[in-house]
């Protein structure tokens, strides 16, 4: 399956999560065995929940983190069965990983052993950095996008010295004016 570019989603924390019609449609619409969440309408839900909405307010997915002692963080993500293959799952996963990092946890796990399409889901998760056997925990290091960070400008990076705005200045690279040496900004 080829995913299209993910739509812009509005990610909202549910302060007081309950089972409702949106959850029934999105989560309850999954094939049997995908999730084991047997709740009635209005039931309070354990764990931390977020809803993913499109710009018109339609809920297209949910994410949940279940965090127990010591940073044992399990994630659950569900996408509206009618909207799968649009990149929504990837977007929810990224949001969940960001949330876990903000809670000071460095790994997440997921279990898919009872999922009716577990091989497909296993591949989907492995492509996104999870490691582990299909019949046990799949785990991922989160918040470790070091390669991407190395490419981006560090927070303390110096702005290039604007020689024209300081004609008599002694900025970096202006050895001729008594300025200090900055190899990257050296002016000849």
């Amino acid at each position: 399956m080829v995913e299209r570019a993910a739509p812009q989603l509005v990610w909202t924390r549910e302060e007081n999560p309950v089972w409702n019609a949106d959850k029934q449609r999105v989560i309850g619409g999954a094939p049997e065995g995908t999730f084991t969440l047997s709740f009635a309408d209005g039931d309070a839900l354990p764990g931390d929940w977020w809803a993913a909405r499109t710009s018109d307010g339609t809920v297209v997915g949910f994410g949940r983190i279940d965090l127990t002692w010591g940073g044992d963080a399990e994630i659950l993500l569900a996408v509206d069965p009618e909207r799968q293959g649009e990149g929504i799952g990837s977007s929810i996963l990224q949001h969940l990983e960001d949330e876990v990092v903000s809670q000071g946890v460095n790994y997440v796990h997921n279990r898919i052993s009872d999922h009716p399409r577990r091989d497909f889901v296993h591949d989907w998760l492995v492509v996104r950095g999870f490691r582990g056997p299909v019949d046990s925990d799949l785990r991922k290091r989160v918040g470790s996008n070091w390669a991407a960070r190395a490419d981006s400008k560090p927070a303390h990076a110096e702005e290039p010295y604007d020689v024209d705005s300081d004609p008599g200045g002694q900025g970096p690279g202006r050895e001729d004016k008594g300025g200090y040496v900055n190899v990257d900004q050296h002016n000849y």
Binding site: R13, E15, N16, A44, L45, P46, G47, D48, I65, D66, L67, T68, W69, G70, G71, D72, E74, V101, S102, Q103, G104, V105, N106, Y107, H109, R111, S113, P133, S136, D137, R141, S144, W146
Partner: protein
């Protein structure tokens, strides 16, 4: 002077004893010699552990340290004290006595025989619980690696090293379970426990809080008081596990853990005592210029360590915590003393949450709120130490008091995450909170000023100015006892 005269007699054992076999390469009371395959697997892990200890264990060079080593696992008297080079400490595998009649005390298996093997359906969950527990044990050793360089006394240095070697042993305890009961996957997880390192960018410890270096001794004392206590409560729940080897392992770990919390309780108490002395003499609040840690900075450290330790318990409500309980993997604190059905399918409790800028309460199923249940027990226990510290202030005739901040203060995890709650429990907006937070949490200036006081004192019986001496020494030894012999390069 003989070793016995100098080191004192070992505590007299009075309970049932299961002797630990020290003739083996890996000391143990699990008859490891009878399982050659397991023994070989652990013996191949042992050099990796020693390498880890040498690389990431205490950095201060020492000749030997007066350490407690377990010699038996009976109810009382179980340890032996002697000077040993730390890298020769006998880390081993010690499980509490087995009760052949033990039954599961809670959940859907209540009343059935405790498990001596891992049931297939619970294998992944049990292994994860053990890995998470195992990850925290060596993490604190790594975090405290350089602390010996600024020890306020030889007495305190010895206590630091005792905590460190026992955290290392707790790692052994978890590694034993992984090797003995979880096959190849367990062995791989055991390897990972040494490959993940505190502060390693690619492979850090599981929790962010365990990836930051412990920079000063007040932080260390707060850590052993609040964060090790956190571990104590987790061990207390695993001690109830239907999986008997895990339960017995954790029961014995709890015995060792008590000393760690003693280090924290008395460490903070002695810090407060010294500050209170200065305040009493000067008739004003103490400052860093007095050579002690001001009381408001002690409160900030307390606020920080308490709040990050609260986050360790996870979200207030958790499906997994409920499943662990129902499955018999993890009980509640003092499970057998609880006066309910120990199944909890019908029970409920109240829980705080934030809505419309106010802290409100709602009723939630008990089974889903077991993280919160454990956290509440922990908070009650934390309050005892604070009362003890306040005793020092009271005895000095001061009106100032330390206090535990509100459960919602400085929280990143659970229902309070994303809200701005003051230590007094007032819900603020972000701007108001940001304007006040430097009064509540240690600033970098506070930490630098505390660090500036951390000048090592290695003369026997002497103490840094910012901390009072203890009332008594370790194992009936005098306070000025030569608890640690530094290597020459450590003295320089």
């Amino acid at each position: 002077m003989t070793v016995t005269e100098r080191t004192g007699a070992a505590p007299r054992p009075t309970g049932p004893l299961s002797k630990i076999d020290y003739s083996e390469r890996i000391p143990n009371n699990v008859n490891l010699a009878a399982d050659r395959r397991l023994q070989r697997a652990l013996e191949s892990w042992q050099p990796q552990f020693i390498d880890w200890w040498k690389t990431l264990g205490p950095s201060l060079p020492t000749k030997d340290v007066y350490l407690r080593t377990a010699v038996a696992v009976g109810r009382d008297g179980w340890a032996h004290f002697e000077h040993v080079p730390m890298e020769e400490y006998r880390w081993g595998i010690f499980l509490a006595e087995q009760d052949p009649d033990r039954t599961v005390q809670f959940g859907k298996h209540k009343g059935k025989e405790a498990w001596q093997e891992v049931p297939g359906e619970h294998r992944a969950d049990l292994m994860r619980l053990i890995v998470v527990q195992g990850d925290t044990e060596p993490a604190s050793v790594e975090q405290q690696r350089v602390l010996g360089n600024t020890a306020p006394s030889i007495y305190d240095l010895r206590n630091l090293f005792q905590v460190n070697v026992e955290e290392g042993r707790h790692l052994w305890a978890m590694v034993y379970l992984l090797h003995a009961y979880f096959g190849r996957e367990g062995r791989e997880e055991a390897e990972q426990l040494l490959k993940r390192n505190s502060g390693d960018l690619d492979s850090p410890r599981i929790l962010g809080a365990f990836n930051e270096e412990t920079t000063d001794w007040l932080q260390f004392f707060m850590f052993t008081y609040f964060t090790d206590r956190d571990g104590k409560f987790q061990l207390g729940t695993l001690k109830e596990s239907a999986f008997d080897p895990l339960a017995r392992t954790c029961e014995f770990m709890l015995k060792e853990e008590a000393h760690h919390m003693f280090v924290g309780t008395t460490g903070v108490q002695r810090t407060v005592e010294r500050t209170a002395e200065v305040m009493k003499e000067a008739g004003r609040p103490a400052t860093f210029e007095d050579g002690v840690i001001p009381l408001d900075v002690i409160q900030k450290y307390l606020n920080f360590q308490f709040s990050v330790s609260m986050d360790l318990f996870g979200s207030e409500q958790s499906t997994n915590a409920g499943n662990y309980y129902t499955s018999g993997l993890k009980g509640r604190w003092q499970e057998t003393r609880r006066k309910d059905d120990h199944v909890l399918l019908e029970g409920s409790r109240s829980m705080n949450y934030v809505e419309d800028g106010q802290i409100k309460q709602k009723i939630v199923p008990m089974l889903s709120a077991l993280n919160l249940d454990l956290r509440d027990e922990y908070v009650a226990d934390c309050a005892n130490g604070v009362a003890r510290w306040n005793q020092e202030l009271e005895e000095a005739g001061l009106n100032d008091r330390l206090f535990l901040p509100h459960e919602g203060f400085n929280r990143k995890v659970g229902g309070y995450a994303g809200h701005f709650v003051s230590p007094a429990g007032e819900v603020l907006d972000e701007a108001a909170y940001d304007g006040l937070v430097s009064q509540w949490l240690p600033t970098s200036e506070d930490r630098e000023a505390v660090a500036a006081l951390m000048i090592p004192e290695y003369e026997y019986g002497k103490f840094a100015r910012w901390i009072a001496p203890p009332k008594s020494g370790i194992n009936d030894q005098p306070v000025e006892f030569d608890y640690v012999h530094l290597a020459e390069e450590g003295v320089a």
